[in-house]
């Protein structure tokens, strides 16, 4: 989608156009904060903060070529910034007895769920585990990158991911039973 000069001018003045734009972004970009926060309410708060930043930035621009790409970047950065403040550093060591689970079984299990079920499943995790799981599994960041983004150590990131996967396996088993 391209936002030209005329649309941007309308967007600045017309409240109806602003709501339409908000709904458009909600449909396409709400999954970003939603997969990092446990509750929809918190995700909406983050989405609204990011939307205000997007709106203020649009006022300065004359034309935007790739709206979704541009807005998703702002959305993602806003989400990570707020996560950094929320997640507290808790050092954990991976004990050699706790062996990591093979990746293929968990992803196979997750593939069978619908998108709503997936969100319910991952949102049931604790906040820090959810953040690390989403960054590693969904967005594909490495542990080094995750540690620098949300200000935790690499070993803590590995531990949180391991715990997240373990819990997801337990939850998936309950889903299966249901």
């Amino acid at each position: 989608m391209i936002l030209d000069k005329h649309t941007i001018q309308k967007l600045r003045k017309d409240r109806v156009v602003q709501k339409q734009f908000y709904n458009y972004l909600y449909e396409n970009l709400f999954h970003i904060p939603n997969r990092y926060y446990k509750t929809k309410f918190l995700a909406e708060e983050i989405f609204n903060d990011a939307f205000i930043k997007i709106f203020n930035s649009i006022e300065k621009e004359k034309e935007i070529v790739n709206v979704l790409g541009w807005c998703s970047k702002i959305m993602f950065n806003t989400t990570i910034d707020s996560l950094r403040k929320e997640i507290k550093q808790k050092e954990r060591f991976i004990f050699p007895e706790e062996l990591p689970v093979t990746e293929s079984s968990l992803s196979n299990a997750l593939d069978h769920l619908s998108s709503e079920e997936l969100f319910k499943c991952i949102q049931s995790l604790p906040q820090d585990q959810l953040a690390v799981f989403s960054l590693f599994e969904i967005d594909g960041y490495s542990h080094n990158e995750i540690s620098s983004m949300i200000n935790i150590s690499v070993s803590n990131s590995r531990y949180l991911l391991h715990r997240a996967k373990k819990e997801l396996r337990v939850k998936l088993q309950t889903f299966k039973i249901k």
Binding site: Y22, E27, H31, E45, S115
Partner: protein, 375 residues
Amino acid sequence: MEDFRSKIKNHKAVPNNESWERLLITKEKKALVKAKSILTFFFMANLVCLSFFGYNYFTSDPSNKLSSDYNNINQPIKNIDDQEIQNKEIQNNKLLIQEYLSKNESANTEILELKNQIFSLQNSILKKNKENDYLKNELSNIENQEDNIDFGNNKHETTLAQNIQNIPSENLLDNEIKVLRRPRSLQTYRNVQTKLVHNKAPSLKIFNHYNAFNIIKPKNWYVGIGTKRTFGINDRQIKYTISLQRKLNKFFDLGLRYNYSNVIERATFSESNDIRDFWKIKKVNLFVRCNALSWRNFNFYIDNGMEYSLYNVQERNSLLIDNELIVFPETRIWDRIDYKFSLGLVYDLNKNFTFGIHSDFEGDVLPDLVLYYSF
């Protein structure tokens, strides 16, 4: 089967009005916060300024406060006839004019006295110059007389002269050097000169033709003139300086300087244009000059001394009498004595003339241009 990652990323959420309402509330809150911070800043700034002015007000002199004016405003107005007001104004104006005229008379007499003093000072300066001329003549006469002194009266000199006559030719030059080492009279030098010439020393024939031992008269007196002109926005200044000084030794001079400066207001008036503000200042300064630094032909000096100043200040003033504007000058005259400090930097143009700048540090930074003649 679709990867769970792509399912999450492509998930389409359903927008709701509640989140939109919350967005509007969040926006207003942020704007309020910004406005609050700006208002807080202005409030604090006002508080600081008020406290500063309050401190100044309460610690200032009570006579500067306007409380007496406020008390007068609150008093009831009395009923007075217009004629009485006019009569009072006329009487006040008459008194003012009488005061002005009496001041003017006293000022005129003071001016006359000062003029006389200045004339007497000028006469004394002229007398001193005459004395200097007389002394010069005397000096030159004495020098001429020395040429004609009979060495018969001065035994030491005659024996010395005779001794020079009897010096054998081989040892002449050494003895002559010994003779010339100490200061001698002119005749002694002339004797040595004739002896050398009679010996026909080839390298000393030069002395046959002209007198090598001319005495150089030291120049101890300097007379200087200076001027300064400035053209400011509100006034223009003209200044003239005359000075005379005598050299005491290598470092110190003693001198007398006379300054005249006139600062005139630059303005054109529709009535009585010739009456305008001016400052006429006449100064006589007795100083000791210290020749602090000299480098090649440049000389830097410092003057210290006492100065007598006479100020004649005129201000344009006006009165309204019977709907007619009368313009008159209001003059003030006073004198004072103070310590004077000044600096100067001059360049020796030749043996007699020196040109440079001289600064008294009065009013503005611009120095005077000065030219000195030594004699």
